[in-house]
Amino acid sequence: MSERSGFWAELSRHRLALASVVVLGVLSAACLGAPLLAPYAFDAIDLSSIQQAPSEDHLMGTDDLGRDLFTRVLYGGRVSLLIGVLSAVLATVLGSAVGVVAGFYGRAVDNVLMRMTDVAYAIPTLPLLIVLASYTEATAVSMAVVVGLLSWMTTARVVRGEVLSLKEMAFVEAARSLGASSGRIIWRHLLPNALGPIVVGATLAVGNAIILESSLSFLGLGVQPPTPTWGNMLMDAQATMATKPWLTIFPGLAILLTVLAVNFIGDGLQDALDPSARSSR
């Protein structure tokens, strides 16, 4: 039997996850430090140097108003990462709570919560956001909340299914037979064993949120220009994708890197949280 390996030991053995943590850390730090790192102001228009290819002056080139793309990618990340992480956390917490309560208590509670989930699924996202946008100004936080509130349903359904099968397991019955309360069973037995799908859902939610934000920005419902986000930069670049590829490539790369990194971290987390996967590696 191998030496006991803990959570951190396992996570550090997961090379890809570790590299992803570094990448995401650097990316987040760079975005947070944008005011210090960025060579220009994000809304500094320079009509003498529009749509320039990457060069020494402009590491990632310039857009059609001559704004420095590198600067805008850094600033854009602040909004996109915030929306991605915040809405994923919100969606995961809400979805897990609804799913675990529905699955555990069953019957009428399950019925009511799952019909609510169906209704939430049926709400058309865009019309709702158009209505909301007409009442309030979209900020990064309000966007994150709205996106989070619109994307918890998948997690809820998956967690409910997981709990439905877990609660029939003998160890849950064992916990009940030794006198554990429902709260204890949920926290100590059901949730830890449902972490796999929860983590997967959360990592997917980060990517989805960043992309949903971009489509909303495209419709003019997201964060308003000139504040950049990866999403609205990508959308702006659509028309010139063939001729000025750097306008698409850099924001796209940022989104890709983020989503990939989050997924690898999710993978690593899942293994690190599962004792039986730990020693089999």
Binding site: M1, F171, L178, P275
Partner: protein, 375 residues
Amino acid sequence: MSDQPKGGGSPTATGKTPTATGKTPARPDDIDARSEGSPEPAPPLLEVHDLVKHFPVRRGFLQRQVGAIRAVDGVSFDIHPGETLGLVGESGSGKSTTGRTILRLHEATAGSVRFRGQELTTLDREPLRRERRHMQMIFQDPYASLNPRHTVGTILREPLDVHGVGDPSERRARVHQLLDRVGLDPAWDRRYPHEFSGGQRQRIGIARALATRPAFIVADEPIAALDVSIQAQIVNLLSDLKDELGLTYLFIAHDLSMVRHISDRVAVMYLGRLVELGTRDAVFAQPLHPYTQALMSAIPVPDPKLEAERRPLILQGDIPSPAAPPSGCRFHTRCPFAEARCRTDEPEWRDLGTADAPHLVACHFAEGLSNEHTM
């Protein structure tokens, strides 16, 4: 990793293939000595009276009840302190449901369960939760019954945490003591269940059941999922623990030889009802109900000559659906001795034993049936 118990238990290989020849098979002395003592006059630890558990069958959008699975349909017995009652029957006879309903892991449909004089079926949630400290369960599947995310230490500490027994250092000491008692290395408390074999996991399950020093344990087929080579060890461990800690068991099993090894009295269940209940020796030496006789004759006889000569009583078909049990005697569809009245009249629960050793049976013809099939 070996499965040898390191604690007090001395594993023996007896009880695996008992002879059904009427001679007393060789068994460790402690077991014979215990079963010969007459039952104490003390009140029963557990009194089960007319216990009924029906599972509703629901269909359609409105989930209307369209029927019921009559898993347990009027079961009564007592268990005295220090006694082991073996509960046997085929799969689907309702024996596990009986055990779970007694512990209120299922809510009883009707009937009464009195534990230490207290009615359990109507007990409120909180007093019931506290009472669980005194009645525990050992599960059949040693793989599913331990939370894979918890270390062995966490698993064994949970009952102590739940019932607020001792302070943290006392709990740690108790965990080590429990591991040692069931023959595992106390240093293994940081390991996870998947690092153990089936037999070791079952020892962990047993240690968990013992943690709060309960008076009564329901052992639900505790050896059915284990390798044959491990079964005797676990049964001996249970038997040692019983002597040492003064435990009372409801031992649910379908393996008659193990039941014979560990039980003081034996109850036989068929389709939600008891068909026979008596002392171990009486039931094994002279089974009164044809169903019990059939179960007994399913035990192979080690001597090839005797095996060739005997005429086993082999049942035809499967156990009927508990959603629609047969009328009259529930066993009549498979009973080789069934007559007309068996289809219409439900047999009474009659005592054909002696004053100090009751032997109850539910069969119209219990007196007249020969026992030759088991010989």
